[in-house]
Amino acid sequence: MALHLNLLHEEISQQRQRQRDPLKIGMMVLGALGALMLLYYLWNAYKVLEIRNRLSQAQHDWAKAEPKVTAAQKRATELNGIISTTKVLDGMIEGRFFWAPFLEKLSRCVAPNAQLTALNGIVQDDGRISVSVEGLAAGREPRAAAEELRQLLLEQLTQGYHDVKVEFKALEDLDTIVNIGGSNQNMARFGLNVVFSTNAAKASATPGPRRNR
């Protein structure tokens, strides 16, 4: 066996020691990790930049759409306001009491031997109509003439209105004699209270021809 002498033993062991230096190895590992982390960071940064580009695109889209949306929202609010106001006004218009048809019906009830001297009508807060009518009736039986007017008025009003009440508040004979058609007739003064409501029926405001008053 040949003698093998290693004259560089010390040098080689130092070199090996240098290679096994934990600090060096640690630094290498740290460097490698650092490089990996940097790469990962750069990859993430690139993705964030991409996302920011998407954000700026979205902001651009929104900037374009926003004025239209704001205007649309404003218009929608305005339209809703118009609709609800019109609805309320419509309710007011539809809920009115039309006096003309009532006057027409009243005029149809007055016979030639009767005369109305005063009429006072009020639309009450609850929607009911209260009318006070005063007049004179003439005839052999003036009270019967007044009663005839009351019944006719009740009949006429029942056709168009609801809960109709026509009642005498006063009916008194007068001493005055009136000449109608050449014959002397007695007279009576009457007062009528008329109450009715229009809740179920709405009359139209178209008066008919006057018959008499």
Binding site: L23, V48, L55, M92, W99, A100, L116, G121
Partner: protein
């Protein structure tokens, strides 16, 4: 199996310890000052994008809704404009009495006069821009038939006018004519 024994000198141990500390610091700095803010920024940006995209999508719905509403409100808008047009510019007391006078004159009832009794705001929130005016319209001399026609024309022509009280008295000196007082309320736009 060959057992490798690594004996660390004090110096090497210190270096290893320093390397470990350096590694921990590096990891901490990396996550706290680099990757953390980056991720947080990404999350915020994504949330903003979602928010904006939601808004843009909603805006399309909003525009469609408004267009539909516009179509639906066509009748109401026309009606509203017509009702609004019934209240001309200026104070109602300046134009309403002359308008009534002219109206009744056209109906063959002369000497009509109208005076303002009161005005008050409406309680309804929808009528915040409207005011209720109460008027007293006096017709000192009117024939019953003419009056009936005039009242019908008034009620048909002035949809926002409502006669709340009517008072008719026969004139003793001329029974053919009556003295009439109408209490009316009107809704008018605030100008």
């Amino acid at each position: 199996m060959k057992k490798i024994q690594v004996k660390l000198s004090k110096d090497q141990f210190q270096k290893l310890f320093l390397s470990t500390v350096g590694f921990i610091v590096l990891v901490y700095v990396y996550f706290s000052f680099f990757l953390g803010p980056l991720n947080s920024s990404r999350d915020t940006t994504l949330a903003q994008i979602d928010d904006l995209q939601g808004k843009v999508a909603n805006s399309k719905n909003e525009l469609t809704k408004t267009a539909k509403l516009e179509k639906q409100a066509e009748t109401a808008t026309t009606q509203f404009a017509a009702l609004k047009a019934l209240s001309p510019e200026g104070a109602p007391i300046a134009w309403f009495p002359p308008r009534m006078k002219a109206f009744f004159a056209n109906q063959d009832i002369d000497k009509a006069s109208a005076r303002l009794e009161s005005n008050s705001p409406y309680k309804e929130a929808d009528l915040a821009n409207w005011t209720r005016y109460a008027w007293v319209i006096e017709l000192p001399q009117a024939d019953f038939s003419t009056l009936g026609k005039a009242v019908a024309a008034l009620e048909n022509g002035e949809p926002l006018l409502s006669i709340t009280r009517i008072d008719i008295k026969a004139l003793t000196e001329d029974p053919q004519f009556q003295q009439v007082t109408l209490n009316a309320s009107t809704a008018m736009v605030k100008r």
